[in-house]
Symmetry: C2
Subunit: 424 residues, 2 copies
């Protein structure tokens, strides 16, 4: 691993060069060797749990001294159960089917050329994230599964924890006969290094930033390399004219309150006016109020829900990440779709309906990564989709959309095999 005694530009270039070299070896390593590395990493994490927890304790202490919020300290914390969980996750990724070498398409042309589109690693990935140390091992494991080298840049609050975890990763790679440089952790909080890494077009193939909107905007602003990201999750539940009452109450409460701080929690509910007449808004609002949810409604909503505060234009675009919801009554399915396409963040949007045509129209016309029909927005997640761990959720449209697993960290090459064919 390169060291921080170098200036930022040299350090960044050194990291990238080591990653390119390691990536080339990794791309040719058989799946069993990559899986063995993951198993060894998991074993090292368990063996060295005490050292990881000690490093984590130093981060927590520094964090408390620096006045980090309780929520941030909670995310940072790794106890014995936490270490077992991250080791488990690495083992699970080891057991997944190898994405590499898959023939995505294969056929023979009339001139006898055999054409195969073969899944291969992307190369070198730069992962930029915040305070959760579990991302260090999750991201490393997913990148290794897909044959990529990765440069990890975690939050400075978690640096000691991340170094301890990276040490286990390095040992696991070495034990499996793979280059330790396949996973490198940026070991300085100096932001200039990130800026330099983001410029290394042609050496770093992809950057995945994961964290708050300001982090992601800063990355996009500086990057000369491709970035896959999601900014915010302004998710909607639309309660259609024909929605079932019990389902509306259960799904709206779940989408808003089951874990309000995450990106696939709902932020706005839209009610068809007929559903309001059928009493659904009243029932849903009562259930939300019992859960302590603050409601911000448009004028018509407040006629039915007097406890609601007035919603302003800004509420329709806000990702509260809290026990607050905006509610609007719409005259039609069309109006609901227009509202979502206008104010939404293309993340996850749900319709609750018994009407097939309404479900079809919503599915076709809402331009989001994840469309839920009669299910909570909380299901848009790599684990819930059966992808195993996820490296992030993309609200971009290119390459990968929605939850991203190991397969999304691959590309393909065209392999054409002939017997001396020439073009005429």
């Amino acid at each position: 691993m390169a060291t921080t005694t170098l200036d930022p530009a040299t350090y960044a270039r050194t990291l990238a060069e080591h990653a390119v070299d390691a990536g080339r070896i990794l791309a040719c390593a058989p799946g069993c060797q990559r899986a063995q590395a993951l198993d060894r990493i998991a074993a090292c994490l368990l063996d060295q749990s005490a050292a990881i927890q000690a490093a984590n304790a130093r981060d927590l202490e520094a964090g408390r001294a620096a006045g980090l919020s309780a929520a941030l300290l909670d995310r940072l914390k790794l106890d014995d159960r936490g270490v077992r969980k991250i080791a488990d996750s690495v083992t699970q990724i080891a057991r997944q089917t190898d994405p590499l070498g898959q023939i995505i398409e294969g056929y023979v042309r009339p001139n006898g050329l055999e054409i195969r589109k073969v899944r291969v690693p992307i190369g070198v990935i730069l992962m930029i994230y915040e305070a959760r140390p579990n991302v260090t091992s999750d991201a490393a494991a997913l990148c290794l599964k897909a044959g990529n080298a990765v440069i990890l840049r975690g939050g400075k609050e978690a640096l000691n924890s991340n170094l301890a975890i990276a040490d286990c990763i390095s040992q696991g790679l070495t034990q499996a006969g793979l280059p330790a440089d396949a996973v490198q952790l940026v070991d300085t909080p100096d932001r200039a290094v990130v800026g330099e890494l983001l410029k290394l077009e042609g050496r770093i193939d992809l950057c995945i930033p994961r964290g708050g909107e300001s982090l992601i905007r800063a990355v996009v602003e500086q990057a000369r390399i491709p970035v896959i990201k999601h900014y915010t999750g302004n998710c909607h539940v639309y309660v259609d004219a024909s929605a079932d009452e019990a389902m509306a109450v259960a799904v709206c409460v779940n989408a808003k309150t089951q874990r309000p701080g995450v990106c696939n929690a709902a932020e706005t509910f839209l009610f068809h006016q007929s559903a309001v007449r059928r009493g659904l808004l009243k029932k849903v609002a009562e259930a939300l109020l019992v859960q302590g949810v603050e409601i911000r409604g448009d004028e018509r909503t407040r006629q039915t829900v007097p406890q609601a505060k007035p919603a302003t234009e800004k509420d329709w675009s806000t990702e509260y990440l809290d026990l607050i919801v905006a509610i609007r009554i719409v005259d039609s399915l069309d109006q609901a779709i227009d509202h979502i396409n206008r104010y939404g963040s293309r993340h996850t949007d749900a319709i609750l309906t018994a009407d097939l045509a309404a479900a079809q129209a919503f599915t076709h016309r809402v331009d989001s990564a994840n469309i839920m029909v009669n299910a909570s927005t909380r299901f848009s997640d790599g684990g819930e989709y059966g992808l195993g761990a996820e490296i992030g959720i993309s609200t971009d449209k290119l390459h990968a959309r929605g939850p991203m697993g190991a397969t999304d960290l691959t590309t393909y090459k065209w392999v054409v095999t002939g017997t001396g064919q020439v073009r005429t």
Copy 2:
């Protein structure tokens, strides 16, 4: 279509807004309606061939007056046969299988949720290109096939021809009941408009630049939206120790001379020293010299080929696009692979060999979009791969790699259908 009386920023925003609206309609139009629009466009192109040729004559006249090169004038020219060819291409794209609605993956989760990954349009595409007017109809047809709205910005030398073609496209769309704004041509040569379009993150989903390296670099430099591109095609043919002599002569001559000005023509040949000892370099060089090819060789090459000029370091990275080839003798397959990964442009690289292990190593380890085993580099082409027309060849690794057809102009959404499931 918006008009150029607007200032660049307003014009760009107006184009993008019209495109977003048209794209939303297009995304929901059934495949038969999109195919009908393409058929109508082809018919209009044939009907209005005289008008297109008259417009093209004005471009040619202005081009001659401006001192355009003969090669550029040749690319610009559209005669009766040329118009029939572009109409034919639109008809062929109309007959391709509709990529939209394809279920890329579909399965049921243990909790009963039905998960489908469904192919959908990307949205709005910005196509920036140079003097060939056929790109206007090809790009429009491919974008429409994939349900995308497109903003076309061709070279100013072809503006009259492009306007005449765009007029046919507009008529065809209207006749099929689709919005004419689905295909908009930027009707001013003002470069500031391009700069403004490239900033419209969230409205324009993808930019595909096609042309010389300086055009593409300028686009990448300015773009705040995703770009898929290829800079150069520095393609290699590696003649392995075990290569067949007749095949080496035929493929090397074809790869270099069949059409030297295109991106999949070969620029460097690498010969294994054993192949040189077997006389293959001599035979290949003789055949190249007969075709008038200038050879630039390393020192060892010049011992076998005295007619060769000395190659400098710069030659290994040069895309000649001309009857010039660089030749180097290597000691091993490893050295050939290292040379290609170091100097190549990740476009198309070929190995000629009878040795299975050599073919496998080359295929795995050369990091290029297209790998040819015993075939000419000239085959890396959408038509030759059976994709129908191509919108470009990507040397990027994300989203699409190699020749791109209509399917590469799509993304997917996750559609999850339940019966009221909530997350616990």
